[in-house]
Symmetry: C2
Subunit: 202 residues, 2 copies
């Protein structure tokens, strides 16, 4: 792996764990095993490094998520899609944490990113749900776009904090680990609050 990629990897991890202001350039350089000025040769400033970390992550999302969301049209594929969406974040909680931190630290920047990368998908999903609603497949009370936003935000923020919630949602021999219980309940909640056909559950 070349140095640039190594810097991005360690910066992503440290920014997610400690935040941008809580992480020094020195710390990242130490993790990579180079001197601070060497790092600043590859990325001209700490801020430029942060922007590259974010945009690299969004690029990864854009390569994976679209194919996931497109499958969400049909009910029988809903479980699979939600599960994949959760898995995408759970397999690397740093993704969710970084997004959440950027939302808290630079709301205006995040607004621009959401508008460009997420809004089109919400709109598409909203339209599909609107049609399903007209056909009576979706509960009449549903606000399709608000629902879509709700579910995505549940998946992201849920994943970001799940390890900390372990204390209040213990492992259960019958129900599985905290993570399993949390993901299963997330999918169940999302599912049973959407479709009309309640018998299709489980």
């Amino acid at each position: 792996m070349d140095v640039r990629a190594q810097i991005l990897t360690h910066a992503t991890r440290l920014f997610a764990e400690q935040g941008y202001d809580g992480t020094s350039v020195q710390e990242i350089a130490d993790a990579v095993g180079i001197r601070k000025p060497s790092l600043l040769y590859h990325f001209n400033s700490k801020d430029e490094l942060r922007e590259n970390v974010i945009s690299e992550m969004l690029a990864h999302w854009n390569a994976v998520l679209p194919s996931l969301l497109l499958r969400a049209t049909r009910e029988e594929r809903f479980d699979a899609t939600m599960e994949a969406l959760s898995k995408f974040f759970i397999e690397d909680p740093d993704r969710a944490r970084l997004m959440l931190r950027e939302t808290l630290d630079r709301p205006e920047h995040m607004r621009a990113l959401l508008k460009e990368f997420v809004r089109p998908w919400i709109k598409l999903l909203g339209e599909q749900l609107e049609r399903a609603k007209a056909q009576g497949m979706v509960q009449p009370g549903v606000d399709p776009e608000a629902y879509a936003v709700q579910v995505i935000s549940m998946a992201v923020s849920g994943t970001a904090v799940i390890d900390t919630l372990q204390t209040i949602l213990p492992n259960d021999p019958l129900r599985g680990t905290t993570r399993e219980r949390h993901v299963r309940e997330l999918i169940r909640v999302a599912r049973s609050s959407l479709y009309t056909d309640k018998d299709a559950e489980r």
Copy 2:
């Protein structure tokens, strides 16, 4: 208002907006209108100030939330309770943002706080839902404790990021503002994924 309270107020706001590491003691002192060493006379260190900010907020919670959660037993009161819970966070989004930041920045500390202040309520709520489930009032698929955690985490993190989500969930003349749509959908999702009696909706 005495100086101590002023310091806490401004520190709460600034920590919520910019984070602990993103806020200097100087900045807080400026907001209050005193010199930095004067602030450090009231709170011996920045860390001590942070601890006071957090514990003051938890004290506020503990004065308000218990009475809310106790009302959650009966279905007919569910809407009112969820609405009050959402309103509690929405009326001052800094509360939610601060909690979320503390969870990201100091997960071990937050774990201790959750264990002490939140876990008992989750357990109680879980037991009540378990009984309601035995009576057939609650859907068979529900994991009561996981559900309770899910709903609270939805309310907290949803509130923390709602202003930023405005871009992807626009105001709608028919459905109201972003906040209204978000809160309404949150309540609908929480409600319709819990009870058996679907006709009681709306």
